[in-house]
Protein backbone atom coordinates (compact mmCIF):
# COMPACT_ATOMS: atom_id res chain seq x y z
CA UNK A 1 0.00 0.00 0.00
CA UNK A 2 2.94 2.34 0.35
CA UNK A 3 3.05 2.51 -3.42
CA UNK A 4 -0.37 4.15 -3.57
CA UNK A 5 0.57 6.82 -1.08
CA UNK A 6 3.83 7.50 -2.87
CA UNK A 7 1.96 7.55 -6.15
CA UNK A 8 -0.49 10.20 -5.07
CA UNK A 9 2.18 12.46 -3.64
CA UNK A 10 4.34 12.01 -6.74
CA UNK A 11 1.43 12.87 -8.96
CA UNK A 12 0.61 15.89 -6.87
CA UNK A 13 4.13 17.29 -6.91
CA UNK A 14 4.51 16.69 -10.64
CA UNK A 15 1.40 18.68 -11.32
CA UNK A 16 1.98 21.43 -8.79
CA UNK A 17 5.51 22.11 -9.99
CA UNK A 18 4.28 21.96 -13.59
CA UNK A 19 6.97 19.45 -14.42
CA UNK A 20 8.05 20.25 -17.96
CA UNK A 21 8.35 16.69 -19.13
CA UNK A 22 4.93 15.96 -17.73
CA UNK A 23 3.24 18.87 -19.46
CA UNK A 24 4.93 17.94 -22.72
CA UNK A 25 3.68 14.38 -22.45
CA UNK A 26 0.18 15.43 -21.41
CA UNK A 27 -0.13 17.90 -24.27
CA UNK A 28 1.01 15.31 -26.77
CA UNK A 29 -1.43 12.72 -25.43
CA UNK A 30 -4.27 15.22 -25.74
CA UNK A 31 -3.21 16.42 -29.15
CA UNK A 32 -2.91 12.94 -30.64
CA UNK A 33 -6.13 11.58 -29.16
CA UNK A 34 -8.25 14.68 -29.76
CA UNK A 35 -7.22 14.92 -33.39
CA UNK A 36 -7.74 11.18 -33.77
CA UNK A 37 -11.23 11.32 -32.28
CA UNK A 38 -12.20 14.27 -34.46
CA UNK A 39 -11.13 12.45 -37.61
CA UNK A 40 -12.67 9.19 -36.45
CA UNK A 41 -15.96 10.99 -35.73
CA UNK A 42 -16.04 12.65 -39.13
CA UNK A 43 -15.68 9.22 -40.69
CA UNK A 44 -17.52 7.06 -38.17
CA UNK A 45 -20.64 9.07 -37.32
CA UNK A 46 -21.98 9.25 -40.88
CA UNK A 47 -21.11 5.59 -41.46
CA UNK A 48 -23.02 4.62 -38.33
CA UNK A 49 -25.97 6.76 -39.32
CA UNK A 50 -25.96 5.43 -42.87
CA UNK A 51 -25.92 1.86 -41.58
CA UNK A 52 -28.96 2.65 -39.49
CA UNK A 53 -30.95 4.41 -42.19
CA UNK A 54 -30.15 2.73 -45.47
CA UNK A 55 -30.76 -0.76 -46.69
CA UNK A 56 -28.30 -2.25 -49.12
CA UNK A 57 -26.99 -5.69 -49.99
CA UNK A 58 -24.40 -6.88 -47.48
CA UNK A 59 -25.63 -4.51 -44.81
CA UNK A 60 -25.86 -7.17 -42.11
CA UNK A 61 -22.36 -8.40 -42.80
CA UNK A 62 -21.07 -4.86 -42.68
CA UNK A 63 -22.72 -4.27 -39.31
CA UNK A 64 -21.27 -7.49 -37.91
CA UNK A 65 -17.79 -6.51 -39.06
CA UNK A 66 -18.04 -2.99 -37.66
CA UNK A 67 -19.23 -4.37 -34.34
CA UNK A 68 -16.46 -6.97 -34.30
CA UNK A 69 -13.84 -4.33 -35.06
CA UNK A 70 -14.77 -2.53 -31.87
CA UNK A 71 -12.65 -5.21 -30.25
CA UNK A 72 -9.61 -4.93 -32.51
CA UNK A 73 -6.49 -5.37 -30.41
CA UNK A 74 -4.54 -2.11 -30.41
CA UNK A 75 -1.24 -3.92 -30.64
CA UNK A 76 -2.36 -5.61 -33.86
CA UNK A 77 -3.42 -2.30 -35.36
CA UNK A 78 -0.05 -0.91 -34.33
CA UNK A 79 1.70 -3.73 -36.10
CA UNK A 80 -0.37 -3.30 -39.26
CA UNK A 81 0.22 0.44 -39.36
CA UNK A 82 3.93 -0.13 -38.75
CA UNK A 83 4.10 -2.52 -41.70
CA UNK A 84 2.29 0.01 -43.87
CA UNK A 85 4.38 3.02 -42.86
CA UNK A 86 7.75 1.29 -42.58
CA UNK A 87 10.36 2.34 -45.11
CA UNK A 88 10.20 -1.21 -46.34
CA UNK A 89 6.45 -0.90 -46.70
CA UNK A 90 4.04 0.65 -49.23
CA UNK A 91 3.76 4.10 -47.63
CA UNK A 92 7.31 4.37 -46.36
CA UNK A 93 8.22 7.25 -48.63
CA UNK A 94 6.12 9.63 -46.57
CA UNK A 95 8.41 9.11 -43.60
CA UNK A 96 5.49 9.07 -41.19
CA UNK A 97 6.74 6.33 -38.92
CA UNK A 98 7.73 7.33 -35.38
CA UNK A 99 5.91 10.64 -35.63
CA UNK A 100 2.71 11.79 -33.92
CA UNK A 101 1.00 11.52 -37.28
CA UNK A 102 1.55 7.77 -37.29
CA UNK A 103 0.07 7.60 -33.81
CA UNK A 104 -2.97 9.57 -34.95
CA UNK A 105 -3.43 7.21 -37.90
CA UNK A 106 -3.27 4.16 -35.63
CA UNK A 107 -5.73 5.63 -33.18
CA UNK A 108 -8.14 6.64 -35.94
CA UNK A 109 -8.14 3.04 -37.17
CA UNK A 110 -8.69 1.88 -33.63
CA UNK A 111 -11.65 4.03 -32.67
CA UNK A 112 -13.56 4.58 -35.91
CA UNK A 113 -15.33 1.18 -35.66
CA UNK A 114 -16.25 1.94 -32.07
CA UNK A 115 -17.76 5.30 -32.91
CA UNK A 116 -19.54 3.91 -35.97
CA UNK A 117 -21.01 0.97 -34.06
CA UNK A 118 -22.28 3.13 -31.20
CA UNK A 119 -23.58 5.75 -33.60
CA UNK A 120 -25.49 3.10 -35.52
CA UNK A 121 -27.24 1.99 -32.37
CA UNK A 122 -28.22 5.52 -31.43
CA UNK A 123 -29.36 6.33 -34.95
CA UNK A 124 -31.38 3.14 -35.25
CA UNK A 125 -33.36 3.99 -32.15
CA UNK A 126 -33.95 7.53 -33.35
CA UNK A 127 -34.92 6.38 -36.84
CA UNK A 128 -37.50 4.05 -35.40
CA UNK A 129 -39.08 7.08 -33.79
CA UNK A 130 -38.74 9.46 -36.70
CA UNK A 131 -39.01 7.38 -39.82
CA UNK A 132 -42.74 7.62 -40.53
CA UNK A 133 -43.02 11.33 -39.85
CA UNK A 134 -39.91 12.21 -41.84
CA UNK A 135 -41.00 10.13 -44.78
CA UNK A 136 -44.42 11.74 -44.58
CA UNK A 137 -42.80 15.16 -44.73
CA UNK A 138 -40.87 14.04 -47.78
CA UNK A 139 -37.32 13.79 -46.57
CA UNK A 140 -34.45 12.70 -48.78
CA UNK A 141 -32.05 10.06 -47.41
CA UNK A 142 -29.34 12.69 -47.04
CA UNK A 143 -31.51 15.17 -45.15
CA UNK A 144 -32.77 12.41 -42.88
CA UNK A 145 -29.15 11.53 -42.11
CA UNK A 146 -28.34 15.12 -41.25
CA UNK A 147 -31.46 15.62 -39.14
CA UNK A 148 -30.80 12.45 -37.17
CA UNK A 149 -27.13 13.23 -36.60
CA UNK A 150 -28.07 16.63 -35.27
CA UNK A 151 -30.99 15.41 -33.20
CA UNK A 152 -29.00 12.61 -31.65
CA UNK A 153 -26.03 14.81 -30.92
CA UNK A 154 -26.03 14.23 -27.17
CA UNK A 155 -26.11 10.46 -27.46
CA UNK A 156 -23.56 10.65 -30.22
CA UNK A 157 -21.38 12.75 -27.97
CA UNK A 158 -21.23 9.77 -25.62
CA UNK A 159 -20.07 7.63 -28.52
CA UNK A 160 -17.38 10.18 -29.32
CA UNK A 161 -16.28 10.29 -25.70
CA UNK A 162 -16.08 6.50 -25.68
CA UNK A 163 -13.78 6.74 -28.67
CA UNK A 164 -11.66 9.38 -26.98
CA UNK A 165 -11.39 7.24 -23.87
CA UNK A 166 -10.23 4.25 -25.84
CA UNK A 167 -7.71 6.31 -27.78
CA UNK A 168 -6.06 8.10 -24.89
CA UNK A 169 -5.89 4.92 -22.83
CA UNK A 170 -4.24 2.62 -25.32
CA UNK A 171 -0.54 1.88 -25.31
CA UNK A 172 0.07 -1.01 -27.72
CA UNK A 173 -0.47 0.80 -31.00
CA UNK A 174 1.24 4.06 -30.16
CA UNK A 175 4.21 2.22 -28.71
CA UNK A 176 4.86 0.39 -31.98
CA UNK A 177 4.15 3.16 -34.47
CA UNK A 178 5.37 6.03 -32.31
CA UNK A 179 8.41 4.40 -30.76
CA UNK A 180 8.01 6.19 -27.43
CA UNK A 181 10.70 8.65 -28.48
CA UNK A 182 11.49 11.16 -25.78
CA UNK A 183 10.07 14.64 -26.58
CA UNK A 184 8.70 13.43 -29.88
CA UNK A 185 6.25 10.55 -29.50
CA UNK A 186 6.15 9.88 -25.80
CA UNK A 187 2.63 10.04 -24.42
CA UNK A 188 1.10 9.35 -21.02
CA UNK A 189 0.53 5.65 -21.56
CA UNK A 190 3.94 4.91 -23.05
CA UNK A 191 5.55 6.93 -20.25
CA UNK A 192 3.74 4.78 -17.74
CA UNK A 193 4.95 1.64 -19.51
CA UNK A 194 8.51 2.95 -19.51
CA UNK A 195 8.49 3.80 -15.83
CA UNK A 196 7.10 0.36 -15.00
CA UNK A 197 9.92 -1.23 -16.96
CA UNK A 198 12.36 0.83 -14.93
CA UNK A 199 10.72 -0.36 -11.77
CA UNK A 200 9.53 3.14 -10.86
CA UNK A 201 6.12 1.88 -9.84
CA UNK A 202 5.09 4.84 -7.73
CA UNK A 203 5.89 7.27 -10.50
CA UNK A 204 4.06 5.09 -13.03
CA UNK A 205 1.01 4.96 -10.80
CA UNK A 206 1.20 8.70 -10.26
CA UNK A 207 1.20 9.24 -14.00
CA UNK A 208 -1.73 6.87 -14.22
CA UNK A 209 -3.67 8.93 -11.70
CA UNK A 210 -2.95 12.06 -13.70
CA UNK A 211 -4.17 10.34 -16.85
CA UNK A 212 -7.43 9.37 -15.18
CA UNK A 213 -7.93 12.89 -13.85
CA UNK A 214 -7.26 14.22 -17.34
CA UNK A 215 -9.93 11.96 -18.75
CA UNK A 216 -12.39 13.12 -16.11
CA UNK A 217 -11.61 16.75 -16.94
CA UNK A 218 -12.19 16.21 -20.65
CA UNK A 219 -15.51 14.50 -20.01
CA UNK A 220 -16.47 17.23 -17.58
CA UNK A 221 -15.65 19.89 -20.12
CA UNK A 222 -17.88 18.24 -22.69
CA UNK A 223 -20.78 18.16 -20.29
CA UNK A 224 -20.19 21.77 -19.42
CA UNK A 225 -20.40 22.65 -23.10
CA UNK A 226 -23.68 20.76 -23.36
CA UNK A 227 -24.60 23.25 -20.74
CA UNK A 228 -27.91 24.15 -19.25
CA UNK A 229 -29.48 24.02 -22.63
CA UNK A 230 -31.84 21.17 -22.08
CA UNK A 231 -33.73 20.28 -25.19
CA UNK A 232 -36.42 18.22 -23.55
CA UNK A 233 -37.91 17.22 -20.26
CA UNK A 234 -36.04 13.91 -20.38
CA UNK A 235 -32.23 14.05 -20.12
Amino acid sequence: MTDFGAAISTAFSLVVYLDRDLSEVVLLSLKVSIIAVIIASIIGLPIGAALALYRFPGRTLFIVIVNAFMGLPPVVIGLVVYLLLSRAGPFGVFGLLFTPTAMIIAQVLLITPLIAALARQVMETLWLEYEEQLRSLGTTPLRALGALLWDGRYSLMTAVLAGFGRAIAEVGAVMIVGGNIDHVTRVMTTSIALEISKGNLALALGLGIILVVLSVLVNGLVFFLRGNNRQSVAP
Binding site: E129, Y130, E132, Q133, L134, R135, S136, L137, G138, T139, T140, R143, A147, W150, D151, R230, Q231, S232, V233, A234
Partner: protein, 252 residues
Protein backbone atom coordinates in the same frame (compact mmCIF):
# COMPACT_ATOMS: atom_id res chain seq x y z
CA UNK B 1 -44.43 26.39 -53.65
CA UNK B 2 -47.19 23.98 -52.93
CA UNK B 3 -50.55 25.61 -52.50
CA UNK B 4 -53.98 24.21 -52.18
CA UNK B 5 -54.65 26.56 -55.08
CA UNK B 6 -52.79 24.35 -57.47
CA UNK B 7 -54.77 21.74 -59.34
CA UNK B 8 -56.09 19.15 -56.94
CA UNK B 9 -54.56 15.69 -56.93
CA UNK B 10 -57.90 14.23 -55.89
CA UNK B 11 -59.93 12.14 -56.40
CA UNK B 12 -58.14 9.23 -54.79
CA UNK B 13 -59.13 5.83 -56.04
CA UNK B 14 -58.30 2.53 -54.38
CA UNK B 15 -58.86 -0.51 -56.54
CA UNK B 16 -58.72 -3.97 -55.00
CA UNK B 17 -56.07 -2.94 -52.57
CA UNK B 18 -54.75 -5.68 -50.34
CA UNK B 19 -51.96 -5.76 -47.78
CA UNK B 20 -50.39 -8.97 -46.57
CA UNK B 21 -47.53 -9.49 -44.18
CA UNK B 22 -46.33 -13.07 -44.28
CA UNK B 23 -49.38 -15.17 -43.57
CA UNK B 24 -51.63 -12.44 -42.25
CA UNK B 25 -53.99 -10.61 -44.52
CA UNK B 26 -54.43 -7.20 -43.01
CA UNK B 27 -56.28 -5.31 -45.72
CA UNK B 28 -58.56 -7.37 -47.88
CA UNK B 29 -59.51 -6.20 -51.31
CA UNK B 30 -60.54 -2.61 -50.57
CA UNK B 31 -62.00 -0.47 -53.33
CA UNK B 32 -63.31 3.04 -52.85
CA UNK B 33 -63.03 6.59 -54.13
CA UNK B 34 -62.38 9.64 -52.00
CA UNK B 35 -63.41 13.02 -53.37
CA UNK B 36 -62.36 16.49 -52.35
CA UNK B 37 -64.34 18.70 -49.97
CA UNK B 38 -65.52 16.03 -47.59
CA UNK B 39 -64.15 15.29 -44.21
CA UNK B 40 -63.87 11.53 -44.44
CA UNK B 41 -63.70 9.80 -41.09
CA UNK B 42 -62.73 6.14 -40.92
CA UNK B 43 -64.06 4.26 -37.93
CA UNK B 44 -63.95 0.67 -36.82
CA UNK B 45 -62.85 -1.62 -34.03
CA UNK B 46 -59.24 -2.04 -32.93
CA UNK B 47 -57.11 -3.90 -35.41
CA UNK B 48 -59.58 -3.32 -38.20
CA UNK B 49 -56.92 -1.74 -40.35
CA UNK B 50 -57.79 1.96 -40.11
CA UNK B 51 -54.20 3.11 -39.54
CA UNK B 52 -52.92 0.79 -42.23
CA UNK B 53 -55.41 2.17 -44.69
CA UNK B 54 -54.29 5.73 -43.99
CA UNK B 55 -50.67 4.76 -44.47
CA UNK B 56 -51.43 3.02 -47.70
CA UNK B 57 -53.20 6.08 -49.05
CA UNK B 58 -50.40 8.39 -47.93
CA UNK B 59 -47.76 6.19 -49.51
CA UNK B 60 -45.97 5.08 -46.36
CA UNK B 61 -46.91 1.48 -47.12
CA UNK B 62 -47.06 -0.27 -50.46
CA UNK B 63 -50.05 -2.50 -51.13
CA UNK B 64 -49.33 -6.16 -51.81
CA UNK B 65 -51.81 -6.02 -54.64
CA UNK B 66 -54.20 -3.55 -56.15
CA UNK B 67 -53.69 0.08 -57.09
CA UNK B 68 -53.86 3.44 -55.40
CA UNK B 69 -54.30 6.27 -57.87
CA UNK B 70 -54.48 9.99 -57.46
CA UNK B 71 -56.42 10.89 -60.52
CA UNK B 72 -55.62 14.58 -60.36
CA UNK B 73 -51.90 14.17 -60.01
CA UNK B 74 -51.09 14.64 -63.69
CA UNK B 75 -47.43 13.74 -63.51
CA UNK B 76 -46.79 15.53 -60.23
CA UNK B 77 -45.64 13.71 -57.11
CA UNK B 78 -48.78 13.25 -54.99
CA UNK B 79 -46.82 13.11 -51.72
CA UNK B 80 -45.82 16.74 -52.12
CA UNK B 81 -49.44 17.76 -51.69
CA UNK B 82 -50.14 15.67 -48.62
CA UNK B 83 -49.36 15.78 -44.94
CA UNK B 84 -50.00 13.44 -42.04
CA UNK B 85 -50.48 13.82 -38.32
CA UNK B 86 -49.81 10.69 -36.28
CA UNK B 87 -51.27 9.50 -33.05
CA UNK B 88 -48.07 10.46 -31.23
CA UNK B 89 -46.51 13.70 -32.36
CA UNK B 90 -42.97 13.32 -33.66
CA UNK B 91 -40.87 16.40 -33.13
CA UNK B 92 -37.20 17.05 -33.71
CA UNK B 93 -35.04 18.10 -30.81
CA UNK B 94 -35.14 21.74 -31.71
CA UNK B 95 -37.41 24.71 -31.19
CA UNK B 96 -41.06 24.84 -32.14
CA UNK B 97 -40.37 27.30 -34.92
CA UNK B 98 -37.40 25.27 -36.16
CA UNK B 99 -39.56 22.18 -36.46
CA UNK B 100 -41.94 23.91 -38.82
CA UNK B 101 -39.05 25.47 -40.66
CA UNK B 102 -37.52 22.04 -41.16
CA UNK B 103 -40.73 20.70 -42.71
CA UNK B 104 -40.97 23.70 -45.02
CA UNK B 105 -37.38 23.27 -46.11
CA UNK B 106 -38.04 19.63 -46.95
CA UNK B 107 -40.86 20.76 -49.22
CA UNK B 108 -38.44 23.23 -50.77
CA UNK B 109 -40.40 26.30 -49.77
CA UNK B 110 -38.22 29.37 -50.43
CA UNK B 111 -36.72 30.94 -47.32
CA UNK B 112 -38.31 34.32 -47.66
CA UNK B 113 -41.77 32.80 -47.61
CA UNK B 114 -41.19 30.58 -44.60
CA UNK B 115 -41.33 33.22 -41.90
CA UNK B 116 -44.88 34.27 -42.63
CA UNK B 117 -46.06 30.72 -43.06
CA UNK B 118 -44.60 29.75 -39.69
CA UNK B 119 -46.03 32.78 -37.94
CA UNK B 120 -49.47 32.14 -39.32
CA UNK B 121 -49.41 28.46 -38.52
CA UNK B 122 -48.34 29.11 -34.93
CA UNK B 123 -51.04 31.74 -34.64
CA UNK B 124 -53.77 29.43 -35.85
CA UNK B 125 -52.73 26.71 -33.45
CA UNK B 126 -52.33 29.15 -30.60
CA UNK B 127 -48.65 28.42 -30.12
CA UNK B 128 -47.00 31.80 -30.81
CA UNK B 129 -45.61 32.20 -27.34
CA UNK B 130 -43.81 28.87 -27.69
CA UNK B 131 -42.01 29.79 -30.90
CA UNK B 132 -38.54 29.57 -29.39
CA UNK B 133 -39.28 26.84 -26.89
CA UNK B 134 -37.70 23.42 -27.44
CA UNK B 135 -40.51 21.39 -28.96
CA UNK B 136 -40.04 18.44 -26.65
CA UNK B 137 -40.62 20.57 -23.57
CA UNK B 138 -44.22 21.11 -24.66
CA UNK B 139 -47.00 18.97 -23.29
CA UNK B 140 -48.38 16.15 -25.37
CA UNK B 141 -51.42 18.17 -26.36
CA UNK B 142 -49.32 21.17 -27.29
CA UNK B 143 -47.02 18.99 -29.38
CA UNK B 144 -49.98 17.58 -31.23
CA UNK B 145 -51.17 21.10 -31.94
CA UNK B 146 -47.68 21.79 -33.21
CA UNK B 147 -47.91 18.77 -35.48
CA UNK B 148 -51.09 20.21 -36.86
CA UNK B 149 -49.56 23.65 -37.22
CA UNK B 150 -46.64 22.09 -39.06
CA UNK B 151 -49.05 20.39 -41.44
CA UNK B 152 -50.94 23.65 -41.91
CA UNK B 153 -47.77 25.49 -42.88
CA UNK B 154 -47.28 22.99 -45.68
CA UNK B 155 -50.69 23.92 -47.11
CA UNK B 156 -51.49 20.34 -48.07
CA UNK B 157 -54.30 19.41 -50.37
CA UNK B 158 -54.88 16.27 -48.36
CA UNK B 159 -54.33 15.87 -44.63
CA UNK B 160 -54.30 12.43 -43.06
CA UNK B 161 -54.81 12.14 -39.33
CA UNK B 162 -54.34 8.91 -37.43
CA UNK B 163 -56.36 9.16 -34.21
CA UNK B 164 -54.93 12.62 -33.52
CA UNK B 165 -56.65 13.18 -30.20
CA UNK B 166 -56.50 9.64 -28.83
CA UNK B 167 -54.41 10.53 -25.80
CA UNK B 168 -55.33 14.19 -25.39
CA UNK B 169 -57.50 16.02 -22.91
CA UNK B 170 -60.85 17.46 -24.02
CA UNK B 171 -59.66 21.08 -24.09
CA UNK B 172 -56.76 20.35 -26.40
CA UNK B 173 -59.00 18.04 -28.41
CA UNK B 174 -61.36 20.93 -28.98
CA UNK B 175 -58.58 23.18 -30.24
CA UNK B 176 -57.36 20.49 -32.60
CA UNK B 177 -60.81 19.88 -33.98
CA UNK B 178 -61.20 23.61 -34.58
CA UNK B 179 -57.96 23.65 -36.53
CA UNK B 180 -59.04 20.66 -38.58
CA UNK B 181 -62.28 22.34 -39.48
CA UNK B 182 -60.47 25.56 -40.34
CA UNK B 183 -58.10 23.70 -42.63
CA UNK B 184 -60.97 22.01 -44.36
CA UNK B 185 -62.62 25.37 -44.93
CA UNK B 186 -59.47 26.55 -46.68
CA UNK B 187 -59.65 23.66 -49.08
CA UNK B 188 -57.73 20.78 -47.51
CA UNK B 189 -59.30 17.35 -47.88
CA UNK B 190 -59.35 15.69 -44.47
CA UNK B 191 -59.04 11.94 -44.13
CA UNK B 192 -58.85 10.81 -40.53
CA UNK B 193 -59.53 7.84 -38.37
CA UNK B 194 -60.72 7.97 -34.82
CA UNK B 195 -61.95 5.93 -31.93
CA UNK B 196 -64.03 8.74 -30.66
CA UNK B 197 -67.53 8.38 -32.03
CA UNK B 198 -68.44 11.78 -30.67
CA UNK B 199 -65.61 13.29 -32.66
CA UNK B 200 -66.74 11.41 -35.73
CA UNK B 201 -70.19 12.84 -35.32
CA UNK B 202 -68.82 16.35 -34.86
CA UNK B 203 -66.46 16.41 -37.79
CA UNK B 204 -67.42 13.90 -40.44
CA UNK B 205 -69.20 14.50 -43.71
CA UNK B 206 -68.50 10.98 -44.83
CA UNK B 207 -68.03 7.84 -42.80
CA UNK B 208 -66.10 4.72 -43.77
CA UNK B 209 -66.64 1.75 -41.50
CA UNK B 210 -63.77 -0.73 -41.58
CA UNK B 211 -63.83 -4.17 -40.02
CA UNK B 212 -61.11 -6.81 -40.30
CA UNK B 213 -59.49 -5.21 -43.30
CA UNK B 214 -62.64 -4.57 -45.34
CA UNK B 215 -64.88 -1.60 -45.93
CA UNK B 216 -68.24 -2.68 -44.74
CA UNK B 217 -70.00 0.62 -45.23
CA UNK B 218 -69.20 3.99 -46.79
CA UNK B 219 -71.84 6.63 -46.68
CA UNK B 220 -72.80 10.18 -45.83
CA UNK B 221 -72.24 10.84 -42.13
CA UNK B 222 -75.74 11.94 -41.35
CA UNK B 223 -77.18 8.86 -42.99
CA UNK B 224 -74.75 6.60 -41.24
CA UNK B 225 -75.38 7.85 -37.76
CA UNK B 226 -79.11 7.80 -38.24
CA UNK B 227 -79.01 4.14 -39.04
CA UNK B 228 -76.17 2.23 -40.63
CA UNK B 229 -77.11 -0.37 -43.18
CA UNK B 230 -74.44 -2.85 -42.14
CA UNK B 231 -75.34 -4.77 -39.00
CA UNK B 232 -71.76 -4.90 -37.73
CA UNK B 233 -71.58 -1.15 -38.08
CA UNK B 234 -74.73 -0.92 -36.12
CA UNK B 235 -73.31 -3.16 -33.43
CA UNK B 236 -70.22 -0.97 -33.37
CA UNK B 237 -72.25 2.18 -32.87
CA UNK B 238 -74.00 0.54 -30.01
CA UNK B 239 -70.60 -0.09 -28.47
CA UNK B 240 -70.80 -3.82 -28.85
CA UNK B 241 -68.15 -4.44 -31.44
CA UNK B 242 -64.85 -3.51 -29.92
CA UNK B 243 -61.93 -5.68 -30.82
CA UNK B 244 -63.24 -9.18 -30.85
CA UNK B 245 -65.70 -10.49 -33.30
CA UNK B 246 -68.66 -12.69 -32.71
CA UNK B 247 -68.58 -15.59 -35.05
CA UNK B 248 -72.19 -15.42 -36.05
CA UNK B 249 -71.85 -11.82 -37.11
CA UNK B 250 -68.82 -12.34 -39.34
CA UNK B 251 -69.62 -11.54 -42.94
CA UNK B 252 -68.95 -14.26 -45.53
Amino acid sequence: MILADAASILPLELKNVSLHTGQKRLIKDISCTLEAEDITVIIGPNGAGKSLLLRLCHGLLTPTSGSITWHGAAGRKPSLFQAMVFQRPVMLRRSVRANIDFALSLRKVPRHLRHDLIEEALQRAGLNRFAKTPALVLSFGEQQRLALARSWALRPQVLFLDEPTASIDPAATHVIEEVILAMQKEGTKIIMCTHDLGQARRLANEIMFIHRGRILEKSNAGTFFDGPKNDLAEAFLRGELLWWHRRELTPP
